[in-house]
């Protein structure tokens, strides 16, 4: 079956199957959008919490680390109750749209990006911040210097968040509805094909998902790693 799956994957990619292509593209843009927003919020927040003492700091860190283990089905139900027609944000009419999936995946990605940023900055040599400050850097430049020094950990957080978002199923199905051509992601498609007995097709889509993960990871690693190798003193 694995061999057939591989062959089917090759055939689907080469023939440019419209439904697979549509699901793959949606998977990609939805998770990239969710992780981009999570990074825009989570990285500065992680910096702040790593560098400042304030009441409730430990509780916040504990909550974020616990939230990393959220089952996606739980986030799915949570978002459903918020975005459903009679939910708190029902008026936004987001339920069964791709943006509802983005919102749910944001909840999935944010604790990961935040925790990994905060954790790697907290573990950083204290001379990094001190050197930046004594050389005249303000709070923002000092934070940027710290982020640059711990970029491996921060990048790992982004990659982990992307990996979870691209492969998650609970949110996409519950708030997206797994509607073909509208909200179906690759993970949703895999489940559907498998439930219809189309194991090879399901397997093929799984392989396409893996290939996409490889591509995204490769791009991120090339963008941020290549100049950083062996530079730590």
């Amino acid at each position: 079956m694995l061999r057939e799956g591989l062959l089917e994957a090759g055939r689907l990619i080469l023939s440019g199957d419209a439904r697979v292509f549509d699901a793959a593209l949606r998977t990609l843009w939805v998770s990239v959008a969710a992780v981009a927003i999570a990074a825009a919020v989570g990285i500065p927040l992680g910096c702040l919490v790593a560098r400042r003492e304030f009441p409730g700091r430990r509780a916040l860190i504990l909550c974020a680390r616990t939230a990393m283990a959220f089952p996606t089905a739980f986030i799915g139900i949570l978002c459903y109750s918020i975005f459903a027609r009679y939910g708190v944000l029902g008026d936004l009419k987001l339920i069964y749209t791709s943006w509802a999936i983005v919102a749910g995946e944001l909840l999935l990605a944010l604790p990961i990006v935040f925790s990994m940023t905060q954790g790697s900055l907290s573990g950083l040599d204290r001379r990094v911040a001190e050197t930046a400050r004594t050389l005249g850097a303000g709070p923002i430049r000092t934070s940027l210097a710290m982020l640059s020094e711990s970029r491996t950990g921060v990048l790992l957080g982004i990659l982990t968040a992307l990996a979870r978002c691209m492969t998650e199923l609970g949110i996409a199905v519950m708030v997206g509805g797994n509607i073909p051509g509208h909200t179906r992601t690759l993970a949703g498609a895999i489940v559907l094909e498998t439930s219809r007995g189309e194991y090879e097709r399901g397997l093929a889509m799984g392989l396409i998902l893996l290939l996409m993960a490889l591509g995204v990871t490769g791009i991120l690693v090339i963008l941020s790693f290549e100049r950083g190798k062996e530079d730590r003193t």
Partner: protein
Amino acid sequence: MIEIRDLVVERGRRRILDLPALAVGAGDRVIVRGHNGSGKSTLLRVLAGLERDHRGRVEVAAPLRGRVFVHQSPYLFRGRVKGNLHFGLRARGLGRAERERRLAPWIAAFSLEALMGRRVGGLSGGEKRRVALARALVLEPALLLLDEPFSDLDAGRNRELAGVLGGLDATILIASPRPLELGADWREITLDAGRLLPDPTA
């Protein structure tokens, strides 16, 4: 330049520094002697504004940006030597041409020409030290605080650094466990277990 009254630094129950009074005039050169754990690094860190958890009055007649501290084991940022040298000047918002102009004499003073394009990971201890010193001195601080700057330089480089320091206008404090032969305009104070020992020459 520096007026200290009743300065106390504590870590938990341990008193690291206890200075009832210390004054350093503008342009003074001071060697802070003392064994490991005598509090000399802490004193320099307090003066640099890096140690905020202290009691007592510390007045320094230079803004934070006018004081530069160089760690006993300096930290160089990931990347190349050049980026490190530019860091402080960039933080001051200077353009590239101006940064290059200000750096040129210090690159020459510490013989860094050949190191400019090198990655910091491959530098020796002495090379890192010279980069860190140039990175600090190019900022022309009014107060220069050096924690054991001579520890990993060879004799020739030590003379080079002593010559450079002698030509500066800044107020300079150097922490050192060993006696340093820097010349007559340097005075020495000695710390022991956080307290100032009486000056034997007074």
